[in-house]
């Protein structure tokens, strides 16, 4: 079934795009700066001699046109959301509205210094304050910190708050275990470890938390239980209220990993379900572009009980004006040099306003509908380990392709040839050969069908011409990369060419 084309190309073994060090030419200059307009101070007289750089840093010397071409060409080597469907499970690659970027770039925000006097920053303080309040309304919690720069930092902030609370209750020395389901994201155990606690992983039962296993694990050493809702299989824990009760009975706190909150917006308020605190990922649910790795924001929302522990500063409404409150004796302290990823908050606010109440509830509903539809369309092509209605995403297994010698990785790579990004693969760890698929609400039926058709074709290829899959992708700027070699040779910085 694979057509072939004869393409005379420039020759293999070539460089797709040179590095800056290879583009560098002695004496070339990029942008220029104005000449100094002040009387000169001799650096050698003002700065200790050991500290005055003798050899200029070896940075590239490239003209502006060539710098622009370099990064422009590099950019085209990326797949991206504005090019096509990106069904990365657990990542919520939904549409990134451009008005959000436009608002974040307003000079009143983007040029605002974090140490401007409060009287000169009232807009930023007001926006921070209202975003906190809106996120509380959406989740049902009492208070929020917007300081954490991402989900993982939110988790850490949350655990620090729980620790501080246990200490205040005199249980700080005892409660040092965090329970996480085996389907949890890696950041959960890593966070528990980073705050100096140990992790107890509990096995899932039919993709859900096993209430008995949880009961067994809970003890007076349990500090917190971290639950992702819906979980990383896209399943809503049907017994979440019971779970919450058990956790509370054991004197522990129930933490929401809100990475999957896209399934719940306007539908379920986590606080009402029994969570004590948790984070949201504004770069998932709230449409912040992912930027090739970040920035995100991981605000933490808490119950009244935990509010005193929020990081400093907190923005408070002084009736007509806003101010930072640093005077919070039980605060866990700061987790960010300033106030977190403010620019992301501007985008979030814009997004919330754009959608409004109806738009927000449409988010979860359409996301859930899309996921269930796609699951139905893919039924039979791959295994469906947990066949029940899913929320905003679902997980299949490529186990059934093993008989053809094909792995999930091959399926993922082949998809890249169809103008679609690969789903999340090999996660969650509890599903062999996992394919984790999250369409989000902003994909059209047409795109879902195109994806399903591609998957159908790939499943057929797996049976009929497995070699095609094993060598995929074919249409990408580079073909499969040798990851082992990268780790062995560990080339992490460039080498300047002999002469430039």
């Amino acid at each position: 079934m694979s057509e072939t084309r004869e393409v005379p190309v420039m020759g293999e073994g070539e460089i797709v795009e040179p590095l800056l060090c290879e583009l560098s030419r002695e004496g070339h200059r990029g942008v220029r700066l104005p000449a100094s307009d002040v009387p000169e101070t001799k650096m050698a007289r003002a700065i200790p001699s050991w500290a005055v750089r003798q050899r200029p840093a070896r940075l590239p010397e490239v003209s502006e046109p060539e710098v622009i071409r370099h990064f422009t060409r590099l950019s085209t080597l990326n797949f991206h959301l504005d090019a096509g469907f990106y069904p990365l499970g657990s990542c919520t690659m939904k549409h990134n509205p451009k008005i959000n970027d436009e608002m974040a770039a307003l000079p009143g925000f983007s040029e605002l210094h974090p140490l401007s006097p409060e009287e000169a920053s009232q807009g930023a303080l007001a926006l921070t304050h209202v975003v906190s309040k809106l996120l509380c309304e959406i989740t049902g919690f009492a208070a929020a910190t917007l300081q954490p720069a991402a989900g993982a930092q939110g988790e850490m902030t949350g655990m620090l708050m729980v620790r501080a609370r246990h200490r205040d209750k005199g249980q700080g020395d005892r409660r040092k275990v965090v329970i996480v389901p085996d389907s949890a994201h890696g950041t959960n155990p890593a966070t528990a470890h980073e705050v100096g606690w140990s992790v107890r992983s509990i096995k899932s039962e039919q993709g859900l938390i096993d209430a008995r296993a949880l009961a067994e694990a809970l003890s007076d050493e349990t500090a917190a239980v971290m639950v992702t809702l819906p979980n990383t299989l896209g399943l809503f824990e049907p017994r979440i209220r019971e779970i919450a009760d058990k956790v509370h009975e054991a004197g522990a706190y129930l933490y929401l990993d809100g990475a999957n909150f896209n399934a719940l917006v306007g539908l379920v308020k986590p606080r009402q379900v029994g969570f004590d605190l948790g984070h949201l990922n504004l770069h998932k649910t709230f449409s912040q572009p992912h930027g090739g790795g970040g920035p995100g924001a991981g605000p933490v929302l808490v119950s009244e009980e935990l509010e005193p522990y929020l990081p400093v500063p907190v923005v408070v409404d002084k009736g007509g004006s806003y101010a930072f409150d640093f005077d919070r004796p039980r605060s866990v302290g700061r987790v960010h040099g300033f106030y977190g990823n403010f620019g992301v908050l501007v985008r979030t606010y814009t997004y919330l306003l754009s959608l409004g109440p109806e738009g927000l509830s449409e988010v979860s509903r359409e996301a859930i509908l899309n996921a269930n539809y796609l699951k139905e369309k893919l039924r039979g092509l791959f295994e469906l380990p947990f066949d029940r209605p899913c929320m905003h995403e679902f997980v299949m297994s490529g186990r059934n392709l093993r008989k053809h010698g094909v792995r999930t990785l091959d399926v993922a790579k082949r998809l890249l040839d169809f103008g679609v990004h690969a789903p999340t693969v090999y996660f969650p760890l509890i599903v062999e050969e996992a394919l984790m698929i999250e369409p989000t609400e902003t994909e059209t039926l047409h795109n879902l069908d195109h994806f399903a058709d591609a998957m159908k074709r790939i499943a057929r290829e797996a049976a009929e011409e497995p070699e095609t899959l094993k060598h995929a992708p074919f249409t990408t700027p580079v073909s499969r990369l040798d990851e082992g070699r990268a780790a062995r040779e560990l080339k992490l910085t460039w080498e300047w060419p002999e002469k430039s």
Binding site: R53, A57, M103, P114, L115, P238, P477
Partner: protein, 457 residues
């Protein structure tokens, strides 16, 4: 404004495919009563036109919207951002892509990370650098965690002069119990005191370069030596733009150099998104936090880049990971990479020199025009602290009313510093603006008593 493309007919067709008649059937796993009945109490929906008016009004409440002239530093700086930079960074190929988990379709991002790592390593004088951390504060904290893991020792000593906010972040993240934050003396580390605090339990000594007060502390090389003598790592928190003119920390003893990359082409944006950088000696690479891009080849022998040493990371190693970081500040690392490329070798030297020159000119004008002198007599690079005869908050208020953000009231950090003003001057400030600043300073000081008292925070 809805971003969902779906007609009623399509919705119906989808439900049919699912063999159901109402969406609610998909929610049958949800416990009864859990689904919210009413709409959320949030404003909207608003069209873009309405949003521009509303959000624009909020932005206009900040001085920055009115083009106030700024002399603020303390970790973030108002630098010139070349016009080409946002055009490149805002290309959707860079902005809307995910973490490069499928390297075949992410060579753009991966190449940029590799270039960022290379240039940060060069600037800091160290062997390797990572793809970014959240910000300067968390970068210092991560460095301390690395030192702990590397040395097997718990204690972290922070010498006087580190940005107090960063010290707080370290205390929060690394645990206050084992983190000793020493006060600055005369704006510098107290070398004797530091030496005394370094003991057999000490994992790391944290130094700042230039430090929070703008000072290039002459004791730093010796303190690194002291740290090494005590078996601890020397962690230097550096301001990266200054490193174009200052000897890189890797050359005078730093094992790890971290800091805030904002000065390298990142919009200041009320302090975030910022970008932490992390560089270290190659011996420490396997303990580094965060993502690393490494060079390799593809099936056909073409050079390519992948995320490597992922076994350090949480998604593979879970609780044994070197850090819990996942999402980082990739787009801002891209800003820094583009910035360094556009300015280049000569431009970077020049911009650092301009900051140095203008800062020194401002200090001189403060003396001449307003009779103000430095709080600390010590070499400084791109910012300095003035000792004022009146509360700094008053002077800041006075300046704000005149469209000049005269400096950072250090009383916001420590009540003992309430008459200290931290002044940073970047290449963006013209001589005329600096002269204006000096006049406003002089007036503010003269107006003493006539200026109403304002809250110190």
């Amino acid at each position: 404004m809805s971003y969902v493309g779906r007609s009623e007919a399509e919705r119906k067709r989808m439900l049919e495919t699912l063999g159901i008649t109402s969406f609610e059937e998909l929610l049958r796993d949800l416990p009864p009563g859990i689904v919210e009945k009413g709409p959320l109490a949030v404003p909207g929906p608003l069209s873009e036109l309405e949003i521009r008016a509303h959000v624009g009004e909020i932005a206009s409440r900040n001085d920055a919207a009115r083009g106030a002239i700024g002399f603020l530093g303390g970790g973030m700086y108002d630098h010139y951002i070349p016009s080409a930079l946002p055009r490149l960074v805002f290309r959707s190929e860079f902005l809307t892509c995910y973490t490069p988990y499928q390297p075949e379709v992410a060579q753009g991002t991966l190449s940029v990370i590799f270039e960022f790592q290379s240039m940060i390593a060069e600037l800091t004088g160290l062997d390797v650098a990572n793809a970014s951390l959240y910000d300067g504060g968390s970068a210092v904290a991560e460095a301390c965690l690395l030192a702990r893991a590397h040395t097997g020792r718990p204690r972290v000593v922070i010498a006087g002069g580190l940005n107090p906010n960063y010290a707080q972040v370290v205390r929060t993240i690394a645990g206050a119990d084992h983190v000793v934050v020493l006060p600055a003396v005369n704006g510098r580390a107290d070398a004797d005191r530091v030496a005394r605090e370094l003991n057999g339990d000490t994992a790391a000594l944290v130094l700042a370069y230039p430090n929070f007060f703008g000072i290039v502390d002459d004791a730093l090389p010796a303190l690194c030596q002291r740290a090494h003598d005590a078996g601890a790592l020397a962690i230097v928190c550096a301001e990266p733009l200054s490193l174009a003119q200052l000897t890189p920390p890797g050359e005078w003893g730093a094992d790890v150099c971290v800091g805030e990359g904002q000065p390298l082409g990142v919009p200041i944006s009320f302090g975030g998104p910022a970008v932490g950088f992390f560089a270290c000696k190659k011996e420490l690479v396997r303990r580094m936090p965060g993502r690393l891009a490494g060079q390799t080849v593809d099936d056909k022998g073409r050079r390519g880049f992948v995320l490597t040493l992922q076994t350090r990371e949480q998604h593979i190693r879970r609780e044994k990971a070197t850090s819990n970081i996942c999402t980082n500040q990739g787009l801002l690392a891209l800003c820094a990479t583009v910035y360094l490329a556009l300015l280049g070798k000569e431009g970077m030297r020049q911009v650092a020199d301009l900051c140095f020159q203008k800062t020194h000119y401002a200090a001189q004008r403060a003396k001449e025009e307003a009779g103000l002198s430095l709080a600390y007599e010590a070499p400084y690079f791109r910012e300095f602290v003035l000792e004022l005869p009146v509360p700094a908050a008053q002077v800041c208020h006075f300046g704000h009313e005149r469209g000049v953000l005269v400096g950072v009231d250090l009383g916001r950090f420590d009540a003992a510093w309430s008459r200290h003003l931290l002044v940073a001057v970047t290449e963006k400030r013209t001589k005329a603006e600096i002269d204006r600043w000096a006049r406003v300073m002089a007036e503010a000081v003269r107006a003493q008593g006539r200026v109403p008292e304002v809250a110190a925070r």
